[in-house]
Symmetry: C2
Subunit: 209 residues, 2 copies
DNA sequence: AAGTGTGAACTTTTTCACAGCT
DNA sequence: AGCTGTGAAAAAGTTCACACTT
């Protein structure tokens, strides 16, 4: 099984399984069947087993899955036993929130630098992270390894996006109002914007009963 | 064409098209072809045209689409010409950020109340929104119309989830670490958690070249 | 001539159902 | 006996290609 052709939806579900397993672990649940786990994850049990089969033979026939070891296998598979260096683009309120966010750090994602283009923000230090001018990006990426970037700019998100892509950053979480994409399959973009998530809900409500 | 069987992926893409169209409008671009818009949205042009065909006949053959009128048609279709009442569950830093978030309000989503279970938070007013004890939920939902709930609790998100579902809230955006689902197709849940979005990126990086 | 809207072909994903292990 | 892992079948989603409109 080639890892590269993991379907996007399967990746999405694997991440969900991991989140649910971590919650089960906190509740001291030690073992679970595909049927029970699938129910908690809102999927069909066969779907869950097929998804897990991309990762390996993780269960015991006739028995089920160990919560702890399944969680670990998923974490490893998803690259979450490693630590990752982040940079932030745009010192908006959301950007400040993320720099102060304990959960992100606790999960092994570390902000190494933040960037802005407004003079009054340059030089600030937020939760130990320095804010640089965006035109210093090249300088900073030479000095430290940067794995991922998060765009939180409200006024000119495209400017940060372009700078990050040019700087050969291969993974970008874009939290601005403007969804962005690249042709290059060697670069991965995730787009998320709160009003867009709410829009899916508004469509649902508008068409309920 | 029955609106109810709009595929989930199509809904997701329609929301993206809307975001990109709004950005084009700000740039004063008045017209666009499916080919150009599709490129900006990271999809195949036929895909884009088929997605839009769920909404209606929105283009002009031989010409293309008017940005302004396509944007309006999408907004209407997605329920975004209406206003929606929100409540918040869990006064975490993320919850406070959202209560203060101008973009959400500007897009027609209004927080009517926030809930928490910790005494020291009850009675606070954040950006004009009062914080109530979760056990007052029934009382509040009797007094005002509640369309959607956003869960931002860090310690016991399930408690808020259960309360909201019991209170017959039909649309929930769950921003906690624990993904949640319901069997009932009359209830729509969106799950999003920052470390999970970053996990998709870490998987990608781990498996690059 | 140019570009939409869409049936038909194709591809991918999901679900079924059962062989096979514990 | 019970539950996983997985080919095969079914369903869903995507892309092609062209008729049709401006």
């Amino acid at each position: 099984m080639k890892i590269r052709d993991l379907p996007e939806n399967t990746l999405h579900r694997l991440v969900i399984y991991l989140g649910v397993l971590e919650s089960l672990e906190r509740k001291k649940i030690e073992a679970i069947s595909s049927e029970d786990l699938a129910k908690k994850c809102g999927v069909n049990p066969a779907q869950l087993r097929k998804d897990l089969s991309y990762v390996g033979n993780l269960g015991t026939k006739g028995v089920g899955y160990s919560v702890k070891s399944l969680k670990f296998s998923l974490k490893k598979f998803l690259g979450r036993t490693e630590e990752w260096n982040l940079i932030l683009g745009g010192l908006s309120p959301l950007g400040e929130f993320l720099l102060n966010c304990k959960e992100i750090q606790k999960e092994g994602f570390y902000f190494m630098a933040a960037f802005d283009t407004r003079g009054e923000n340059i030089g600030k230090v937020i939760n130990g992270v320095s804010v640089y001018n965006l035109d210093q990006l090249t300088y900073v990426t030479k000095a430290i390894r940067v794995d991922m970037a998060i765009i939180t700019s409200e006024d000119k998100p495209e400017e940060y996006f372009e700078a990050f892509v040019n700087q050969k950053i291969k993974a970008i979480l874009n939290l601005s109002a403007v969804p962005m994409f690249v042709e290059d399959p060697g670069v991965k973009i995730e787009n998320f914007y709160f009003p867009m998530a709410l829009t899916k809900l508004s469509f649902f409500l508008k068409n309920s009963f």
